[in-house]
């Protein structure tokens, strides 16, 4: 086993990997940018190496800096987390060339799955069904226009090198095509350094269901069941569950077999996820993409299968066999995760950076919070706005929802806007409770809610709570008034100008 491992990431996922290192008695090494000098992941590591300035291109995305940091600290392996360089084959290669172990698949498998066009080709060859669309990247706008007409609107524009919803646009009609094409191109160039796009037919009311796969270097490839990730905003997941509310063992078996077949076809090793779109009505599934890394939503699989995926990743990378066989994997109960983003859900999910001025993290039976922040942490504008992941487990989906509701109500983060309030409403939504999910869930949820709030009169309890909120604001206002007047009274005749003069004198003396 490794003695020292460098985590080429930040925030909650760096913290998650540090925990797995501790379990395995491996010494964790953090890397950080200037903005993260006092971040939580740095404080939990044994050693920390400064990469450079805050922009990720000069820190967390710099391959030479990260490899140099690993060599300097004497790390034997690098865990990339997710995002940043996690799916960059050049990085995996550079790590291996430096004589270190990359915790992830071989660069060749990453390359095939990293481009959506080659990934679709691999899926077709392995006999896994795909969504109708282009196999080659789009060359020109006029070609895009022709193809869109051929497939019929709505269509989806996607970055060939993409993931995480970046460089991705749903286009309803020709009017929107040019602006979407240009924005997707420039977003793809900014996020992945590659502006090529491809085009796909959009499927009606699709569910987004993915299969977790795992493979060792001895030829064992297994699947750990599905995760339903249909609740998305800007094509990025916000709530995930395991198993899917469909909970169809036969479908799980078929999708699992398809995912394993694809993983085998590219000689996959380590943890990976094969994403599918499942047509709501027919339950036909189509290959979407394969993520050649750990997923953000891995905790729900961990809670239901009891397997520590990060620990298993490190074990497999160190040359061990998978610690479980396919027939040993069981799915017990139900888990749901909410991604807590520093975003204003009521204002189009606009990022909300700032300092966390109050934090109360929920706990209790079946509650897990994977967080990268603490009281006083600055959520900077430089990185992804996800600050933590709240996951709960219950014996059934209903019981898991009960625990999630309680945990969300207990969770409090002040100083920045977060998606917590939005989740509190979703867990009370009848369609969510019934498990009627598809990727258009959020927009329909908002319509339902607007209709409901317009038609429901305020209850006595709501009026009382509102009155108490007004009273609290008034108490605080009067208290601030009192403090200001006391301050003025305590320092008669002192102006700001005089104060700054005195400070200048004091500074002069100090020298």
């Amino acid at each position: 086993m490794f003695r020292k491992l460098l985590i080429a990431n930040r925030g909650e996922i760096a913290v998650r990997v540090i925990r797995a290192c501790r379990d395995l008695a491996i010494s964790p090494i953090a890397v950080y940018s200037e903005a993260d000098a006092a971040a939580v992941h740095v404080s939990l590591a044994d050693e920390a190496v400064l990469l450079g300035p805050s922009p990720s291109s000069e820190s967390y995305l710099s391959i030479p800096k990260i490899v140099a940091a690993a060599l300097k600290a004497g790390a034997e392996a690098i865990h990339p987390g997710y995002g940043f360089l996690a799916e960059n084959p050049d990085f995996a290669r550079a790590v291996v060339e430096a004589g270190l172990t990359f915790i992830g698949p071989r660069p060749e498998a990453m390359e095939i799955m990293g481009s959506k066009t080659t990934a679709r080709r691999a899926a077709m060859q392995a006999g896994v069904p795909i969504v109708p669309g282009t196999v080659e990247p789009l060359a020109t706008f006029s070609q895009t226009k022709e193809l869109a007409e051929q497939f019929g609107y709505p269509v989806m524009l996607k970055a060939a090198a993409g993931g995480g919803g970046k460089g991705m646009r749903l286009v309803h009609s020709y009017d929107e095509l040019l602006s979407a094409f240009e924005t997707a191109q420039s977003e793809a160039a900014a996020a992945f350094g590659d502006s090529s796009l491809y085009l796909e037919k959009a499927i009606d009311r699709p569910r987004h269901i993915e299969i977790q796969v795992f493979a060792d270097t001895f030829g064992n490839t297994v699947h750990l069941g599905e995760r339903e990730c249909s609740i998305q905003r800007r094509h990025q997941k916000v709530i995930e569950e395991c198993p899917s509310p469909i909970n169809d063992p036969e479908l799980r078996k078929r999708m699992g077999a398809a995912a394993v077949k694809l993983a085998r076809a590219v000689n996959y090793t380590g943890a990976g996820t094969v994403e599918f779109l499942v047509a709501g009505a027919t339950r036909e599934f189509y290959f979407l993409e394969m993520n050649t890394r750990l997923q953000v939503e891995h905790p729900v699989t961990e809670l239901v299968t009891g397997i520590d995926l990060v620990r298993e990743q490190i074990n497999v990378a160190a040359g061990a066999m998978l610690s479980f066989r396919q027939e040993e994997i069981g799915w017990h109960g139900h888990a749901i995760e909410c991604r807590v983003y520093a975003e204003d859900a009521e204002n189009n999910f606009v990022p909300s950076p700032g300092r966390i001025s109050y934090l109360r993290v929920p706990s209790g039976p079946g509650v897990r919070d994977d967080s990268g922040v603490e009281l006083g942490s600055d959520v900077s504008i430089y990185y992804d706005p996800m600050i933590s992941k709240l996951a709960v487990w219950g014996r059934s989906r209903d019981k898991a929802i009960d625990r999630l509701r309680t945990a969300l109500d207990e969770y409090a983060i002040d100083g920045i806007k977060t998606t917590l309030g939005f989740f509190r409403e979703i867990v009370r939504d009848q369609e969510f409770i019934a498990g009627n999910l598809d990727t258009g869930f959020i927009s329909r949820f908002k319509q339902r809610r607007d209709l409901a709030t317009a038609n429901t009169p305020e209850s006595e309890g709501q009026i009382r709570a509102r009155d108490l909120a007004l009273i609290a604001a008034a108490i605080h206002y009067l208290r601030l008034q009192r403090e200001t007047s006391q301050k003025t009274a305590a320092s008669p005749g002192q102006t700001r100008w005089k104060m700054s003069g005195r400070r200048a004198v004091a500074r002069g003396k100090a020298r």
Binding site: P351, I381, D414, R424, A469, A472, A474, I475, Y477
Partner: protein, 165 residues
């Protein structure tokens, strides 16, 4: 003490008296007697009889955000005694719309020039923050009066990036 508290566009008259740890308040004829326990400088436990209200008050510009139970209230306190000219000059627009940066970030593209005619819903510029590009659109059809940002410029939340009339 009489105050006006504005919440979601509605003004509520508030009569309030604080005597040490006790608060007496009246809102729309409803009377409250509340005991205050301070947890820290902006965190109060309010007890009305046996009912517990855990409140945190954040000050954001001219408003207070009150977190109470699982809800959030954005409240503006108007003090009739201290009503200053700054508050009385209501900023009713003259049909002009400001395109405002909703968050700090970087301008990546400017899609219109001053003098251009724009339709409601069309994109004016693109701002990137936290790796996401956000198209800022005009809510009204009209003419671009001014564009105050260039590609590459760093902007703060609240900056007026363009004006449409």
């Amino acid at each position: 003490m009489k105050l006006i508290a504005e919440l979601a566009g509605t003004e509520h008259g508030l009569i309030i008296k604080i005597e040490q740890q006790k608060v007496f308040a009246e809102i729309h004829g409803r009377n409250y007697e509340v005991e205050i326990r301070e947890r820290n400088e902006n965190h109060y436990l309010l007890l009305e009889g046996t009912r517990v209200f855990d409140c945190r008050v954040e000050q954001t510009r001219e408003k207070f955000t009150v977190h109470l139970d699982r809800n959030e209230y954005s409240i503006r306190i108007i003090d009739p005694k201290r009503l200053s000219s700054a508050q009385s000059g209501s900023r009713h627009d003259h049909g002009a719309v400001e395109i405002i940066a909703p968050m700090p970030g970087k301008v990546v593209r400017v899609l219109v020039e001053a003098g251009a005619a724009v339709k409601a819903g069309s994109s004016i510029l693109v701002v990137e923050a936290m790796k996401m590009q956000n198209e800022l659109k005009t809510p009204k059809t009209g003419t671009v009066v001014s564009v105050n940002a260039e590609p590459g410029a760093t902007v703060n939340a609240g900056d007026v990036l363009a004006v449409i009339e």
